[in-house]
């Protein structure tokens, strides 16, 4: 059973979310305060966290930071503010995706399912420069050491590495990695590419693995080899 942790101080909304998610066959943990999250998180590690930004105790951004310090669990932010600064900050601290209130329940379910899915891969492993990608173990290694990537970061890297010649537009990545069918916020891509680079590149300012194609999008670096 999939366990979703819903962190929101609005009890009615939390209850409604629980009704909808339970209807989809998921289990729900409700948390009302930011400073209570980590305790419950450690006791019953969820498969995904739905996180409101404005919370009593400590705010959602801080909670996001704390969770990321311990876990690579998918985090989807719930934001009522719709203000860019909070969204970008949340993404930079490791949130995978965000959804702006008021949202359609169907949209929320779709996002959650995208974040939880495991795409079966026809390839077992790939080498991207000095980095090796293991699609079975969902692991990325550099010099034999595992690099801790979130599931989303892994998916992003995998998408680029599987089609080495292709330049991905931000829209294409949004649809392949995030599961958006319609146009959406391209900052999601920008922020996560930055995070991914900071983890896998030797010099994130001069990337060799995830390259920017100015005015178009991104592509993988030029040294893909099948194992």
């Amino acid at each position: 059973m999939t366990l979703i942790m819903v962190v929101d101080d609005d009890q009615d909304l939390a209850e409604m979310l629980a009704i909808v998610l339970t209807g989809e066959g998921m289990e729900v943990d409700l948390v009302g305060r930011g400073d209570e999250v980590m305790e419950i998180f450690r006791a019953t590690p969820p498969d995904l966290v739905l996180l409101d930004i404005m919370l009593p105790g400590i705010d959602g951004i801080e909670v996001c930071k704390q969770i990321r310090a311990e876990s690579m669990v998918p985090i989807v932010m719930l934001t009522a503010k719709g203000e860019t600064l909070d969204i970008v900050k949340g993404l930079e601290f490791g949130a995978d995706d965000y959804i702006v209130k008021p949202f359609q329940p169907g949209e929320l379910i779709a996002r959650i399912k995208t974040r939880l899915r495991r795409v079966p891969s026809s390839t077992a492993a790939l080498n991207l420069g000095e980095v090796s990608i293991d699609f079975v173990a969902h692991e990325v290694k550099r010099d034999g050491r595992v690099i801790a990537l979130t599931r989303l970061e892994f998916d992003l890297l995998a998408a680029l590495a599987k089609e080495p010649g292709r330049v991905f537009t931000r829209d294409a990545l949004l649809s392949e990695v995030w599961g958006y069918r319609q146009t959406s916020d391209t900052r999601l891509v920008n922020v996560h590419v930055q995070r991914l680079r900071s983890k896998i590149e030797r010099d994130p300012d001069n990337p060799e693995l995830v390259m920017t194609v100015r005015g178009v999008g991104y592509r993988a670096g030029n040294f893909i080899q099948s194992k």
């Binding site: 609005d10 009615d12 909304l13 409604m16 979310l17 009704i19 909808v20 209807g23 404005m54 009522a80 503010k81 719709g82 203000e83 860019t84 702006v100 209130k101 008021p102 949202f103 359609q104 329940p105 169907g106 537009t169 829209d171 319609q182 146009t183 916020d185 391209t186 900052r187 100015r214 005015g215 178009v216």
Partner: protein
Amino acid sequence: MALATVPGISSKVNDLTIMKRTSLGVRVVASTVVLCTVAISILAFVILVRVQDGIKNSRLEAAISESQSSIYQTESQFSFLSTQLLSSYKVALDNVINNFTPSNQSGFGREVILIQQNSPQGTLLDTERTTNLISKNSIPAELRDLVRTSSTLQHSYGNIISRENVSPLSVSATNPRALIIGGKVSLPTVGIYEIYFLFNIENEYRNIALVRSTLLVGGLTLILLIAIIVAVVVRQVVRPVRSAAQIAEKLAAGQLEERMSTDGAEEIASLGSSFNDMANVLQEQISRLENLSRVQQRFVADVSHELRTPLTTMRMAADVLYKARDNFEPTISRSAELLLAQIDRFEYMLSELLEVSRFDAGVVRLEPELLDFKVVVHRSIDALVPIAHDNRIDIHVTEPAEPISVVLDPRRIDRILRNLLINAIEHAENKDIEVLIKATEQTVAISVRDYGVGLRRSELTRVFDRFWRADPARARTKGGTGLGLSIAQEDAQLHSGVIEVWGEIGKGAEFIFTFPRERGQSLIERPIPILHIDK
């Protein structure tokens, strides 16, 4: 917080006008110099004339009395002459001549010329005697005529001329200027002589020349001094005015802390303090407005947060009900449908209202990216194709082959295009819509053309007004807030662009969005003209 719209400050224009006008200081100094030159010239001229007259007159008076006494002296000398001998006359005449010439004087001093007027005894006596061998040509002919016909002393001005064959006594004294007094002496026996006294007045002329040059130098110095003094004074007066102007410009540029100094002369200090009062009031007003805008911004954020959370709950609840509507009675089932639809509408209106209030608060911020404009357009169109097809409308796009790379905020551009396209779909009356994209070096333009109901001429200016509807009864059934085009226009202005409209009743309408490739540049051309006629 970055304010998106800062009112333009035309400081460049001010600079230009200042440059064109002559500076106050230069003007004051110039007019002072001109007026002083005139005044000093008049004064110097009067002084010069007075001094010249004074010197000449006093010399003349002295010369006349001296001449008179010399004549008496000579006449008495001759009347007491004991002998009638011609030789004694000669001696006496020599004496007369010698008496006049100071022996210790170099150059010409006081010279005498004696000329016999009419000698009864022929050449017995010298008809002409002079001192220092000067020539009788020294005496102007007019003076001689006057002396012959008159019994009183006459005077004239001339030069002392030496006899031709005699070298002058000294080089420097060549033909010195002289005051010439002429009279007659009647000598017993020998008759009447004309006697001319030549007074060297070179010294007097030198004095006059000295006075003249002194006046000239003094006058020029005075004018220069006055010019300097005026310049200094003007600087003192103008400097605070100039600094006031500079500080005013700084204030206008937003440096609200700038103040004038209030030291110095009373008037300047009062200018400074009134100026500062004005600046204080301005600063207060501006900070009050800024505060208002901050409050507004906070309010927008708060409303946004506070309304959206319950709205989310409502929407999810409605959604659950809606999904289960098949299990309800028809009235309840229909109610669930209406509930969801109205929540949708409410949500849409709320987001548009919040957007408008953000524009009003001036807190909108562009998030520019370098993108291909064509891709952005196609994304927007693709999203609306289902709605267009519901209305049996096709959207045809005409565009250049090459990409149009331009820095833009994709979400705002998408919103502009969506608003224009939805507006076109709503008014197209099921006829196809044409989209035209054109770009030049500087400018990008897109037009959305429908062939539907069209617009009246009087309506063209109103379509961008908030909550304005061409046909209130019609539009309301279609939904929409009446804010779409107004928001689109604001978004266009954020890109330094503009949306223009053209339309005719029954023939449809065309909305043209034109914006410069570089934000902040003004629009210099219209790649798609406003009255673009379709083929």
